[in-house]
Structure formats: C-alpha cells, structure tokens
Subunit: 630 residues, 2 copies
C-alpha cells in the first residue's frame, strides 16, 4: 500500500514540507494547489524535487465548483480545467481531485451533471490525465459519496473515477457498508482523516479540527476496511486541515502522520481487511496486555535526592533497596514502587541537567516486554538501552514523546524479579513490613503537563504502542486559563495516564512547562482502600494536604444525600468527592506541591467509578492558585 | 444605571477578581457559584470584602434544573433552594438566578411549571429573597425569554421576576421588540454579552466565545434599548464566558468590560433610550468625523534614523521639514506624511529603548481634536501630553492599547497648519515638488502585529474612541501557523487599520512580537492612482520588491479574463490582484522588509474595491517565509 499525505497537512514552505514528508517515510504526496502557487519555482521544479526525494506525486488538488453549471460557465470551467491539466503534465501527476460544487446556484440535475462530468472525462482522456470526483460533506447538491458514485458510475468513462474521503463520509454519518459494493478499480483515490467529535458546522470542523487516524473519534478503521474490501489498489493519503498542525514543527507532524497510517493499516487489518496488491498491510507485533505500573523513576541529584526521599517516606514509602551497580534507590509501599536515580553520567543525570528534579522514566508491567519493544520500534519510536551491570536484567525501553523513557517489564516466573536481579533489597524488617502494609496500594494514575501542540502526539503514541483507549477530553478551568485534559488507559484500567495541556494563559500547567523546561509530572495518584485511614497516616507524618474551601462541602451537602457525618469527615480530611451516573463514588485528596513541582494524590474508587474526579479539578486548581498568590 | 459584572468574566482568584472589578469602576458584581465554592473563606467573608470595596453583590448564580420535574425531585430542589437562600443571606444578596432546565427528561407542562415556580416564589418570599428566572438558549423546554415571561407573568408573585440575557435572546434570533411590552419592574435583572457570529452549537458558542459589547456582532445596543424602554431600573451586568478572557490579565479585562458598558449605554442612548432612574446614561462627546492619517511617527535613534530616512527617500519621500524644538524630521509624498523622532529624553526615546525602531505614534485628522480627546478620556483611556515649544501647537493625544500615542489633529482655517506651526519647512524647491508629485498619494492603511489576547481590546478601543466600524475577521494561513486579521475603519474609509494576531505558532506575526518586544508595525500601505508607474518609480530608486511566484499569475489567468498583457505586466511588477463580487479591483505590491521589521505596501483601488487583498496574504506570507528560510 502506497502511503501518501497532502502538503496541506504539515507546516512550512513547500520545500520544507516535501523534505519532512519524505524523511517521515511517505512514498507519495498530494500537491495542494496553494502550495504550488506560493512556491517560487515552476511546476517542473517541484516535479524534479519530488523525483530527487523519491516521492511520487499522487494527486493534484483541489479543482472546485465544476459541475451543475450553465453552458456558459461550463465552457469557462473546461478552459480552466485545460490549463490545470497542462500544469499537471509539468508537475508529473495524472490525477486531479474535483470536489463537488458548493455554489448556492448549483443546478440540481443529475442528467446535466453526468453530461458535464462526461465532457470533463473526455477532455481528461485527450490530455492523458484522470479526474477523481469527490463529494464534499457540505457540497450544495452532492454531499454523499453514494451520490457521487451514482454519477461517476453513469458517466462510465475510464478517465473519471471516484475519490473517497473518510472525513466527508464519517462526519455526516454516511453509512460505510455500501463502499464495499463499489468496484475497487473505479476508486481513483482515497483520502484519510480522523477528527474529534464536535458539535459544530461541518465545514468549520473539517477546516480546523481534522487530525490523524488514532487521534480522533471517527471510525476511520471501519472506513478503511470497507475500502480495502473493494480491491482498491491505490494509496491511502492523509489530508488533514488542523490549526495546530499548521503551527507545529513540520518534521514531527509528518512523522506522526506516517505512524498514524501504519496504525490505521493495522486497525483495518484487525477488522479482516488485507491489501490485495501484494504489498502486505503493516502488521506489527500485537499490543501488550497490561497489569500496572512497575515503577516510576525520578531524576535527582545529590541535593534533591534526600529531600525527595524524605517526602516519599512521609507518604509512607519505605527504602526497599539499593541498585547493585548504580546510585539508584527503590522506595515501596504496597504495590507502588518509586525509583530515585542519582547516578551521575547517566541518562538520568542528563535528564536532571535539562529538566531538574523530574520524572525521567516509567516502567510498565506487560505480558511480553520484547514484543512491546518490537511493536514500539516498528512504529518508528526510538529504542533506548542504558548500561547494564552483570546479572542485571536487560529492560527494553523506548523514548516517550517528551524524551523520557518508557520501560517494559514482564513477569518471568522462573527468574528473579527485576528488583531481585537489580537491587540489593532491604531485609523484611518490621519497618518495611509496616510500610508495605501502608494505606497506599498501587499507582492509580500519573498526570503529565504537556505543551499544547504535543497532546495529539502522545495520544497516538499511547494508542499505537500501548494499545490504550483514549477517553474524551475535558476542558478544566484554572483561575488563569483553560487546561485541556485527556486520559489514556489500558482496557483493564490497570494503567492510566492523564495528559494535561494548557490552552493558553498563565495556568499551573503553563507554569509547569517553564519550571521543567518542557513536559513534566503534574502529579502521581495512589490507590487506597480507605481514604480516611490514608489521610490519617499522612497527617501522622506531617504531610501537608491541600486545603479545600468549606463552601465546597456545603454545596456537596446541597447536591447529594450522604450518611450523617460523611461530609464533615471529608471536610476535615480535605477529601474531594465525585459520583457517577451509576452511583460509583470517587474520594480523593491532594498533598501540597513537592519541591515546587509536583504533588501526590490519594484516591479511593468505589462501585466501579472509572474517572478522575475532573469535576473537582477546578477546585483543586483554584486552591493551588490561592496558595501561590496568598 | 448600576454597572455590574459576573465574576466568571475575568481571570484570577476571587480576591483578585473583586479587586480588579472595583478598580475598573464597577458598582456591582454577580457572584458565580463556582467562585464562591473555590474561595477559602465563608460567604460572610465575601460579603465583607465586597462591602469594604464598595461593591454591591447584585446576584448569586446559577441555580440549575429546578422546574418541570417530578414531585420527588421538586422536594429535593426546594430543599436545595432553601440551602442556597440561606447562603445568600450570609453573602448579602437577595437575588438568585434560576436558569431553565436543560435535562432531557424535563416535563413540558406549563401548568406544572407555573405551580413549581410558584412554590419557589413562596419559599423565596418566606426567606426574604427574590428569584429571577432566565431562559437558556439551549433550555430543553424553555429557551425563549417570551416563554419564560409567560410563566413568570402567570405565577404573578413579587418574589419571582424575569431575567433577560442579550446572548440567550440574540443568539437564537429571538425577536427583541416584545421585550418593550414587559413591565420594567417585573424584570429582575439584565445580563449583557456580545459574541462574534459563528456557525456552531449555541451552547459551545455561549461557553467559549462570548465577548464584551462592542467586540462582537450581536445587536446588543438594540436589545439594551428595548430593555430601557420597559422602565427597567436595575443593573446591566456583563456575563462573559470567553476562553481568552479566562487567560488574560484580570485588571485589563475588567477595565475593558467597564468601557464596554459605557459604550453600550451610549449606543443604546443613540437609539433613543434613556435611563429613567435619574442616573443619566453615559453620554460622551460624539465620535469624530475623520479625514485621514495626519502622519505616522517612528521612534528612531541616531543610527537607525539615517537608515530609515534613506529607505523612505527611496520610496519617493522628501525631507519636508525639521521640527522647531526637537530632533524630529518630517518626510512627505503627496498627502502622506512620515515623522522620524530621534529626540533624546522623550517619549520617543523611551519607546525606542523598549521596542527599538518602531511606530511610536499616529496622528489622525478629525473634525474636532479636543472633543475626541475628551471622548477618549471619558472612556478611561490615558491622556498624554509631551513637551511643547513656544508657538508650537498643543496636540491632544492618548495612549493606544500598546502604549504608543494617538494624536488628534483638526483643521484650523485661520491658523498655521500643524506642520507650519511646529516645523521649519523646506523651500518648495524642485526636488520637493517632484516628491510631492510622486506616485504615492496618501496612507491607505496601517497594519499592526498584536498579541492574540489584545485583539478584542483594540477593537473596543477603535469602536469606542474613533467610532470605527470593525470588519469581519479573516484567518490567514502563514506557513508556520494561522494569523487572525481584522480591519477597523472610519465610515468614509479615509482611515483604515488592520490588526493581526497570531493564533499560535511561529508565524511572522508571532516573530514580530519578539522583535518588537510587544506589538509592532507590520506594514504601512500607500495609495496610488497608477500601480505600475509607482512600481517603476520604486525600481528606479532600487527598492527591492517582494518577489511573487510565477505560478500565482498562471492561476490568475485561469481564474479571470484579463485584457492582453495585463497579467504579464503584473507578473513583471510582482503586483498581486483581487476582484470583489461587484467587479471592484485591487492591485498591490510589497517591498522587502525594512530593517528586518516592517515593510511598505503600495495599493491601487478601482471600482469601489473596499478590502485589503486578504486572499493574497497567504502568498505574501509564504514569499516572506521563503525569503527568510532560503
């Protein structure tokens, strides 16, 4: 399958775009007319540049408002087409996209349109080019691929084919099953775009909010599956209009685009489709089964290490082991493991140099670490291997989008555990037993602060490599602006990561990006079976909890029925509360910030509650802001 | 008229909000429930804080989903209301906003709803508070103020009134004339919001895109006019949900909000309404009649002055005079005047210190300078007076939103002109005559690069002080992101200013903000009667024009019919072209950037063309980017 992308999908000048598109791995490119108009050189120069790069020009587009017009206008349009066909010869592509007329005065007469498209097909044949006809979702008369196909089928000319676009079909809930009935050789081209579900005008939605497959909510895989079922042999080509992509670095966007096509091929393949052109679809190793975080690892230096260790000790963690060959310490409580890495001349020390005290690595418990590693690298994510001492376990890892490390760890029944292999573990003394029996059981979720333009990159990464689901986004009001928040999670909920990105302004997330000089940890949340006992333990060790205003509890009482004393208990413990539609309950409490950077959360889930208390985030953000500004 | 604003309209913690709201001049404030919940203190603390500031709490809001419910739910809702009424006593306000139910299960039965609202009114009466009922534009059953009024009127209880909101009415095109038939004393409260016209879900539109009156497209003045006609005596209160305001500095937003209410009062007053409570509506001096730019003034130092003078000389400008008392030089061509200000220890030198070579002032020809000055200061814009030498004219000026100066100059038939008074003018030698007879006739428009969050501030400033119209916004694709562009202009078109703000990314506008350390000049455009003669003159003096790709001209030829040779002439001259729906034509050409900062444009308007060639902006932006990156 030839992988293609439209120049409009990435930022930059045409020269920058073509170089980045090729570097990302694409074989083909659609030349968007505006990019050609803005290019200071001839169409032949573009042809040569693409040829030198090894890029095929798969399509020239768009040609607008051709059909359903008066005879006089038709003559003008055919003349205009003639000029563009000549340009296509120079450009070195034989396919042009004609999109359905959006003019309010379009003549709604299928017979007339068939005649006019027929004339265009004859002209194309004479000029040795092909026309692909596409229904825009907001076309004035033709807005469905089924209508466009009836017309193309009736014209029945080899120089006129149908162009399909996943967005134009899925955005208007046009049924996708009939696609499979179209002969594959009559489909001239297929464009691919995803989008987040939004209640808005479809034209505005298309022009500003498209995204790569795997980043949005549309059933692009189902669409691709139906297309492949037709025997279609041509390219899948990304055509993404996205305000963020227009402003984002060219190379990174192109790389994500290529990965998203790989992901789409796999997803479509999972639904049973297979490419029939001999080129197999992308079939990476299967995504992992998850069973939780193995550990999270902080980059520290000799100054911050004891300070951070002290804070985790106060939270009930126990110094469980020292690494055999490195200046690395393990802290544990229940099933939660924290690693502090103070090794000099290492990845962690480089990370510390760049970001200060920060989360430099996370390790995930999976069914088969080697397979996940292979999966990640097959999507083009960069492998990482650090120094390994004698008899220590080799842990496969890749670079996450922020440059931190993600390790994959599998259970090996016949071998020492990772900790046994790599660490000198503390004796099971009474102190340790007490800590392991503390109220914090495991890592519930980790929350990261990200630059706004990287959120989609992370979503694609977690979906593609980890097989995570992405939940709908929340817009959280911070006192100084909005924060977009989106959670990803394993199907079983054992691994959850919340991604926060500041829309703009002076939010705590925006400040965090300054503090860390890049992405950074917002907070880490631990599970407990008893939130009030956990708070008592924290307070016994003088952990400062984030103070929640009493007005919040008065409102809770007005909104819900509680057993006597529960609200008073929550109020005294500064515990926040949420309840889902099924009656599931969520209790959570925050510590004050550690080291001016991140904080801890303790959560208790009851009755299948599956969220993160996002309704309470504004209370928390306001309380944190009041702490800073008071 | 009491001027009020809802706490949700500005950023910050509640403490910051209240202080800024008072400082801006408001007499009243609506306490949004979330701000109360997030406040770390009691409702009585808020009451005291407001009292100390001299702010009246005009309203507590919102109370949701009360009416059209089952008997069981009604009991819960009345209990919830009871709690909130008690809270209102502590808070010190007697009015609560109840907004129409958005629950899909609302019972659509007017008789039932009248009964339930009646019970709420009785409870309110017992508690000594009042309820205002408001129809949300997206209310499930009640979404029009007319429906809400029928219900309130039927209940007919003094503790239940109607709340009107300009957005909820105007956003759904609800007719505003029937407002005038409602008895003013039955209107409990009036909320005010404007919004730009957008094709989107009305709830999303309301939650994210509201703006202050004078910044959007709704007929808020017409709405206010009908409200005042009822004899309504209560506050006008701004309730603005705006993503940008949430992130913008609190004090500046509050100040703009107050000005926008003044502007609204004037606009409503112009439509014939008068407040009947004895407090006159705001009646500033009338806006000016305009007749063009008097001059634009650059802050320069001894190094940049000769360099810039040289560039303007190349563009055909003549050194027309030296200031009598300052190191200030006047350059002229036709009716266009440029001032270079190198005076040390002056406003200009401070401006240069801050922004480098930059536009530090603009002067506008108006019918009555003193009146415009008084108008500007009555809206709270800061006056400016610089040093004035003996016999020099005192020119009234105010600070524009970026800190630069806007001077107002009127024609005084019996006095020396401003230039005669303040400058030693060059003799009318042949050189000067030639320059005055150059091809550039006058300043057509000035284009500024602004921080994104100040665009609305400028729109309000130009509408309020100058009486300008604001044209619809354009989104211009720069190769590295989108630029929002909106033009303001005098009714006669003699003064036009284009405001550009980068949505995000690495656009030339975003870069400009770095270069200038703040807002700055993007370009200044001069009118000509003969674009090709103007280009010839520029080239004769070796002015470098921005090179436009030849593909652009091939496309022009495919799109339009031109007389033979015209396109070739444009292509050779690097002249861009636009045509409006009425056949009006626009020819324009750009110079290369001056001093890495701004550039000049020469434009020719034909047949009543009234725009700025925005369709060509992407070509220009791409050409400029290619220049920088090649």
């Amino acid at each position: 399958m030839l992988r293609s992308i439209a120049t409009v999908s990435v930022s930059g000048t045409l020269v920058e775009k073509l170089a980045a598109i090729r570097a990302a791995g694409f074989d083909g490119v659609e030349i968007f007319e505006n990019d050609l108009l803005y290019f200071d050189g001839s169409p032949a120069d573009i042809r040569k540049r693409c040829a030198d790069l090894g890029l095929q020009i798969t399509l020239f587009q768009p040609f607008r408002d051709f059909e359903g017009v008066t005879q006089e206008r038709l003559a003008q349009n055919l003349n205009r087409a003639q000029r563009k066909f000549e340009l296509m010869h120079e450009l070195g592509t034989d396919l042009v996209l004609v999109c359905s007329n959006v003019n309010p005065n379009v003549i709604a007469d299928d017979a007339l349109i068939v005649d006019q498209l027929g004339q265009l097909a004859l002209l194309a044949e004479r000029e040795g080019v092909r026309v692909g006809f596409e229904a825009l979702a907001w076309g004035k008369y033709i807005n469905s691929y089924r209508h466009a196909w009836r017309l193309v089928d009736t014209v029945d000319h080899p120089s006129l084919g149908l162009i399909l676009d996943s967005f134009h079909t899925l955005s208007i809930d046009d049924p996708i099953d009939p696609i499979a009935d179209i002969p594959g050789d009559r489909i001239a081209f297929v464009q691919i775009a995803d989008a987040p579900l939004q209640k808005m005008d479809v034209l505005e939605w298309s022009r500003h909010y498209r995204c790569f497959p795997g980043q949005g909510d549309l059933d692009v895989a189902g669409f691709a599956d139906r297309v492949l079922a037709t025997g279609y042999q041509g390219p899948f080509s990304l055509e993404i209009f996205n305000d963020g992509f227009r402003a984002a670095p060219t190379a990174a966007t192109a790389a994500d685009g290529y990965r998203s096509l790989l992901y789409l091929e796999e997803q479509a393949g999972l639904k049973g489709a297979r490419s029939k052109d001999g080129q197999p679809l992308f079939t990476p190793p299967a995504p992992p089964a998850h069973s939780g975080f193995q550990f999270i690892e902080f980059a520290v230096d000799s100054t911050s290490a004891p300070r951070l260790a002290q804070r985790f000790a106060e939270a009930g963690f126990h110094a469980a082991g020292k690494h055999r060959s490195k200046d690395v310490t393990l802290y544990q409580q229940g099933g939660a493991s924290i690693v502090l890495n103070a090794e000099t001349d290492s990845f962690a020390s480089e990370f510390f140099h760049r970001h200060g005290l920060s989360l430099c690595a996370s390790a995930f418990q999976v069914d088969d670490a080697a397979r996940v590693f292979e999966r990640a690298t097959s999507f083009g994510y960069a492998p990482f291997s650090g120094r390994v001492g004698p008899n220590e376990r080799v842990v496969p890892g890749v670079r996450a989008p922020d440059g931190s490390l993600h390790y994959f760890v599998d259970a090996r029944p016949d071998e020492p555990t990772l900790y046994e292999a790599d660490f000198v573990l503390s004796a099971h003394d009474s102190e340790r037993t007490q800590a392991v029996q503390g109220e914090l059981k495991r890592i519930d979720h980790v929350c990261l602060d990200l630059p706004a333009d990287t959120l989609d990159t992370w979503i694609l990464y977690f979906r593609a490599v980890f097989g995570f689901d992405a939940e709908p986004a929340w817009l959280l009001p911070d006192p100084y602006g909005l924060v977009r928040s989106r959670a990803v999670r394993s199907a079983d909920g054992s691994v959850r990561i919340v991604l926060n990105a500041s829309v703009d302004g002076r939010t705590s997330t925006a400040q965090s990006l300054h503090t860390y000089r890049g992405s950074g940890l917002n907070h880490v949340a631990f599970d407990t079976d008893n939130i009030f006992a956990a708070v008592e333990q924290l307070r016994a060790r003088d952990v400062q909890l984030l103070r929640i205003p009493s007005n919040y509890y008065d409102d809770l009482e007005a909104r819900y029925d509680f057993a006597d004393g529960v609200v008073r208990q929550m109020k005294e413990a500064h515990v926040l509360y949420d309840r889902d539609a099924q009656g599931g309950e969520f209790f959570h409490v925050y510590t004050e910030q550690m080291d001016g950077r991140f904080f801890l959360e303790v959560v208790q889930r009851k009755g299948g509650y599956d969220g993160y208390g996002a309704v309470n985030a504004p209370v928390r953000l306001a309380a944190q802001a009041q702490r800073k500004h008071s």
